[in-house]
Amino acid sequence: MNDGAVVAAHDVLIVGGGLAGLRAAIAVAETDPTLDVAVVSKVYPMRSHSVSAEGGAAGVAAADDSLEEHIYDTISGSDWLGDQDAIEAFVHEAPRELLRLEHWGCPWSRQPDGHIAVRAFGGMKKKRTWYAADKTGFHMLHALFQTTLKFREVTRYDEWFVTRLLVDDGRVHGLVAVDLHTGRIQAITAKSVVLANGGCGKVFPFTTNANINTGDGMALAFRAGAPLKDMEFVQYHPTGLPFSGILITEATRAEGGWLLNKDGYRYLQDYDLGKPTPTPELRSMELGPRDRISQAFVHEEEMGRTLDTPYGAVVHLDLRHLGAELIDARLPFVRELCLKYERIDPVTDLIPVRPVVHYMMGGVHTDVNGAAGLEGLYAAGETACVSINGANRLGSNSLPECLVFGARAGRAAAEHASGATAAPHVVAAQAADEARRIEHDLLDRVPWEEDVSTIRTEMQATMEESAGIYRTGEEMTKGADRLRELQERAKRIGVRDTSRTFNTELVGALELANLLDVAECMLASGMQREESRGAHQRTDFPSRDDEKFLVHQLVTRDSDGTPRVEQLPVTITRWPPGERIYGR
């Protein structure tokens, strides 16, 4: 019967088979081999979005580099909103985690003497980004996934879609998921649950993110009563391909690529990002931070110095002077993508690019060990917000973040599970409830008054208008109203597909519900932050206001389902807020 029956019990359940989730699973197995750990993922682990990361993963390795400097770059990159204790822990542990991945077989690019090679990256003062050509995420994920196969004690639920956390009395006891192959709605109990569901780029119409990045983890936590943090901070990557939104990695600029406006002029020099030099200069010009470069684009567009295409304005990324040999050695995937999707060759042609939604700084609020707001609940990776990224993430910090905090969350979840008791009986009733909700609300509703794709498109348009690179209070309020309406309409969605087998329309409907919740949180949080900081730029409050807003904002769910925003102090240890200076 499709009644949400409890089909299995594990000690630790990991939701998500991306970098963060798999790292957490191994951490559990290593912490206590007697624990029974399982990974639940809506796609096969190697399909997770980590696979598309291109540029690299930061970790201090070079002799001329220091932990202090990586810490400082990350803090100033975060516009001082990152928690400094978390950043310290992160920077200290990142190199070790990256080395561990090396031991697990990741094919990192090397120097001639066999040591790890590092490249420059935006906002970083030293070369410290480890890379595997320009398929870093792909190689990291596959090496990690293949390594987890070695741990026979890790059970996998592939293509199971998690719809709800089972919570009793402030404690998490497991989850409910749809087994996509059979359509069965089933409950799995656990003593600890780690959310590693990745990001939510699909809130926006134009994103580098994959189709599966629908903020499920954030929505699951939010609905279970755990707070989300800093949801207003959405990173735009300056160089996405028009139409598809496919990412052209920052590594192109680290290797020496230039951004040109329609006059062939390196326009970043007009935006306080330093002076153009023929070879790339760290923390300057094209190697400035993403928020500032994306903002410069908007100004160029306003001044009519961009080029028009059917898919919006673009500027050009120029790699021609790098030569075929370097491009083939270090950026082969970029060449492949350009040839395939734009039918141009970066060796001889300019690449049209525009800013594109790329990464969520915000997410499930956790402490430095990944503990989220409820007992037994942990979160890591892009779905979580520890926060090391603050108001703006530095490129190449998020892959190591997945490893460092995935491992920490895994260890903490393991420890918690060792001491915890089995799930109480009430959760079975909750699971049955959830099964009934899905069956009734989504699958049995005839006639179908609304459908998934219309509402999704309207939501995405709303978010683009109200939460773009530049925002105003007015736009966000309007957007929030629209989202309320869409939430109401979404209640009338019916799934036309009545088959239980691999019902992707049902998945779409469940994802849409998550997207809407996450979008609402973004706007609710954004409206409250009356300042401009990092990726949150308000034309009605153009400057940073440390007095009032050097704080995190937590969004929790009110009893009526609407988001409520509270403040939480930022942890500042040794680096008092200062000015973000690039190129000087």
Partner: protein, 139 residues
């Protein structure tokens, strides 16, 4: 949950649709067809070995047997068979040579020998062997 829909739900892998390739699967794509032809060359190779053995036997049996054999070998059906067999042998040689570099990595002085060089070397060997055989039998 409505009972009826439930009955019909896929419960297991036994509802998966399994497709088995038809016997003549290799007629569906040119590349499959070439593959099967390549594999069929084996029959003709076996035939040619037999034929050459018969030839040798005839030579061993004396001058008349040899002449008779040559006559027999010129009979139309045998000529047709041998022309076909020869074509298959050529197919075998060409495909075998072109696949070798894929199956074998040769290192010379720490460097990988490029596929073209391997293919070239095989044709060179073919030429030398052919010339030698020709010289040996017609000397």
């Amino acid at each position: 949950m409505t009972g009826e829909a439930m009955e019909r739900s896929a419960t297991d892998t036994d509802l998966h649709y399994r497709r088995t390739p038809p016997v003549f699967w290799w007629t569906r794509k040119p590349s499959y067809f070439v593959f099967v032809m390549r594999e069929l060359s084996s029959l003709f190779i076996a035939w040619l070995v037999l034929y050459l053995l018969l030839f040798v036997r005839a030579v061993g049996r004396g001058e008349t047997a040899y002449a008779d054999f040559l006559d027999w070998a010129a009979s139309p059906w045998l000529v047709v068979l041998n022309v076909v067999a020869f074509a298959f042998v050529v197919l075998h040689t060409v495909t075998w040579f072109s696949l070798t570099p894929q199956a074998m990595v040769l290192q010379v002085g720490g460097r990988r020998v490029p596929p073209r060089a391997i293919i070239g070397a095989q044709y060179a060997a073919l030429a030398v062997v052919s010339a030698f055989v020709l010289w040996l039998v017609t000397r």
